[in-house]
Amino acid sequence: MTDPIDRRGFLRCAGWAGGGALYAVSGGMLSSVSFDEALAAPARAFTFAQISDSHIGFDKPANPDVKATLRAAIAKLHALPTKPDFVLHTGDISHLSTEAQFAEAQEILSEIGLPIFFTPGEHDTLDDGGGALYLARFGKGTKGAGWQSFDHGGVHFVGLVNVVGLQAGGMAHLGPEQIAWLKNDLAAVRSSTPLVVFVHIPLWTVWEPWGWGTDDALPALALMRRFGSVTVLNGHIHQILQKSEGNITFHTARSTAYPQPAPGAAPAPGPLKVPADQLPAVLGVREARLTRGRAPIALIDSSLA
């Protein structure tokens, strides 16, 4: 992969980038690069990757072969110049939460050859047990519906679950039990520690008529306000969107399966069918680069084209 941004590109973009998001065209390919506030510092340089919304089991016209595109995404990860320390999968591993789909997804994902930390999407909790199959296979050692946290390279990572116990008329939901757990978890973390939160549905309200938001995100975000740098990574909406709100930046990722319309740009948020030759350009993976010192976290989105 080529470095998607050079100094000239940075200066060109910086004037309008505003809230910390930069876009650069490199090698004829649109990439996005975004920087978090450089107020907190990881202890050492490392990279990790994010993939999302692989929807194994989906077979509709928007992508009749989601296994092939997941493998193409894995090839992108293998081609990264720096081997990531691990991968975050931000949910919708399967399309219908069946044992067969989970097994197939797990087998393909094992080809990455790196540790993977998961958070479920609403497509992963459709079984009669409301996510029991997901937890058995992908949520070992997690709490509640799959919440977890871990430390790596001086960065505190938190995996939240906002796809269970959804209420009629509402959007995504964390629930008081998980928020209490989060409060307890973060209490032990110093404010100078960079925080990376991964979750399926956006924690900020992207588009309420489509349920693209989280009802009770505010009490969770309030617990993160004291940190110097908070990076929230999510999936669900199958496109790259970014927002900066004080110390917190929000980044949605592309899917490895199919795109969805821009917020409000279609009658409904269902799978968006694009010409087959254009599909790889709207799917993708994300690399996060962390450098030692007070340099910002760089997020580099690469399409499968």
């Binding site: 509709k60 497509h123 459709l126 959804l166 509402g170 309420e208 349920g211 269902g270």
Partner: protein, 101 residues
Amino acid sequence: MRLVIPLVLVLALATPALAATRQVDIANFNFSPPTLSVPAGTTVQWTNTDDEPHTVTARDRSFHSGALDTSGKFAFTFAKPGVYAYFCSLHPHMTGQVVVK
């Protein structure tokens, strides 16, 4: 006993007319019609026409379809009068109700 058989036949023939089936489409992330009024004893059948799974889930969880993939159907018979509010448990902004009189 010979008289009973014709009576059973008459009842069997009459039953479909008494207990009608009404349709609700699930299309573009909407229940259509969002409010359906039916007499008691009506069976309501939902059909998902989206390329996205949905569920039909009562707010009080008295009925739940499980995941309905594309072309998936779910039927429930409403025996008693009342207002039955339901939603899609995957996309909870999708809501509907069946009013049984």
